[in-house]
Symmetry: C2
Amino acid sequence: MTALGSAAGPVAMSASPEAALSLAVAEALRGHRGANPLVGAVVTGADGAVLATGFHRGRGTAHAEVAALEQFAATSGIPPAEAILWVTLEPCDHTGSTGPCTEAILESGIRRVRYAVADPTGHDGGGAARLRRSGLEVEQVGPAAAETSGAEGLNRRWLQARDAGRPFVTAHLAQSLDGRVAAADGTSQWITGTESRRHAHAVRSRVDAIVVGTGTVAADDPRLTARDAAGHELAVQPVPVVQGRREVSVDAALRRGPEGAPRGWIHVREHDPRAVLDRLRQARTAWPHGGDRPGHLLIEGGPTVLAAWLGAGLVDEMFVYQAPLVLGGGPTGLDLPHLTTLTQALRLQPDPAENGGLSRLGEDVLLHYAAH
Amino acid sequence: MTALGSAAGPVAMSASPEAALSLAVAEALRGHRGANPLVGAVVTGADGAVLATGFHRGRGTAHAEVAALEQFAATSGIPPAEAILWVTLEPCDHTGSTGPCTEAILESGIRRVRYAVADPTGHDGGGAARLRRSGLEVEQVGPAAAETSGAEGLNRRWLQARDAGRPFVTAHLAQSLDGRVAAADGTSQWITGTESRRHAHAVRSRVDAIVVGTGTVAADDPRLTARDAAGHELAVQPVPVVQGRREVSVDAALRRGPEGAPRGWIHVREHDPRAVLDRLRQARTAWPHGGDRPGHLLIEGGPTVLAAWLGAGLVDEMFVYQAPLVLGGGPTGLDLPHLTTLTQALRLQPDPAENGGLSRLGEDVLLHYAAH
């Protein structure tokens, strides 16, 4: 148990909304950004002692509240009636791929719930009303605490995407330390190491679709499947989306799925990312994670396609895998010829997670950026 | 106090050479790579409990042994005669910018010294013999412990440079996340942020000379001074070295030092880094850190110069400052046109320090690479 708000060590104090929610935000940031919002939860005693924490890892996994309540039930010695549940987002009252959080909270025996941001999904009314009807003391914290804890801004880009009726967009760049994505002769397999590739394949299996340009298909003939370290296809596969006007070869590897079976894929004969979004909105496709629209896209390139999405302000997060190699020649990963001077540069920011979006993958580094 | 070799917590155990030296190596890696070798020291009890640690920060600062012995004297409760001093490198018996470590050890009262690698400098005979003559129990650990602890490989590149009679060489690259060192119109101030620039200026003040190409001088007219955050020149200034055949303008900023005073600088009208090294070896110049030869060079670029040094295998470490900016056009930082395919790429490695050579400088990242 750690006391909140005390640098000097665990001392008893009353739970401060800012401190409890800041911790919940830090938990939330451990999750994958994508189709679902980031959510973090903390269970404290009335004195502010932290009894359990949880976060939502991503679509299809336990919600943050459920994770925290399970930890609380397994490890805490105090009666639930003395505990407080803090959540960055109003608990859901909706049965999706997991059950409603309201039920998990009611079953836990916890009677006091504090949340920062109202449920933005509009499913079935908010969970707060349902919990209040069941006699729980449920409060939304004031705007100051929601703001300073970071809960308010946590899903800013996710909400923008949702309000625009578009999926969350992740971009991917694998380059040498001097920013090259291929050698002068076009060879690019493998610039990055096995751990980077494993990470990239895990991202592929989380998204609904991977967008590449016709140039990438012609040059690299990528399979665009999500594979494990041994090269075997994972259970969930993204839908390949090819952007651009050139034809896609009848032999293109992306037309085939596991064991060579024909696979659904989409060709959007346009250069504008908005046209791709329109087309995906209308596509009658079995999206791998369910739903009638893609919730999460991955833009893999090449340089023109990636630049088009970034330039349109449609990239919500970006993973840069950087190998300790000097290529000294060959193409770079982003072509934005209309940017001619430094003041026009596109500015991203380090992902706000605890490690500042910075990690090592074998000898490579992974830089995780967020859109402003 | 932390017991060595125990993940479970501090328990009494006899000091293992591998464990003590591994910790000393980790300490050593906290120092600046450059004109002096990396050295780390640890004081343990006979049971292996760690009583003090120290490392050599860089030229002109306390040696590792002295740092560890000072901490031991200030904080340890045990008599010096019961302690063991572990050092990655044989203690020096030489008066340079600091006094000999042998004297500090004799004054400390510690009677048992273990070191991994024999003094490679050849100054005045090794310190081990001197300490033995004074009655201390001094042993060089076996080659297995020196190897597995990392002490043996710690100064591999430093020793190579020394054996070749050349300075230690640091390279510098400041780029956008897509590997551009300037926008298409040549603007490059400032791609990186204030914290990156402060780090880069601290490196400048540690080196004897900064090498740039005539192209960089013509394009950017850099001052090549080491400045603090407020823009004031630091006390110690590197000697500018310009490499290449083009003339350097009589108005070039690098010709002037603090307050506009004329400043010593060197023009080497050659493209080959080896010619630059030869010329610096012969130069009758007041090197800022003393000595009759430069002990540490910084290669700042541009792309052709940096590539020439890297391609010649003459770069011992490299700092890459990377800003969260997308430039989408403009030059990259390394031109190696003879590398045409991926298998020819130059491979560096992450610096082996605790953080894996990876840190955040404001919104930028610093990637620290070591030569293989």
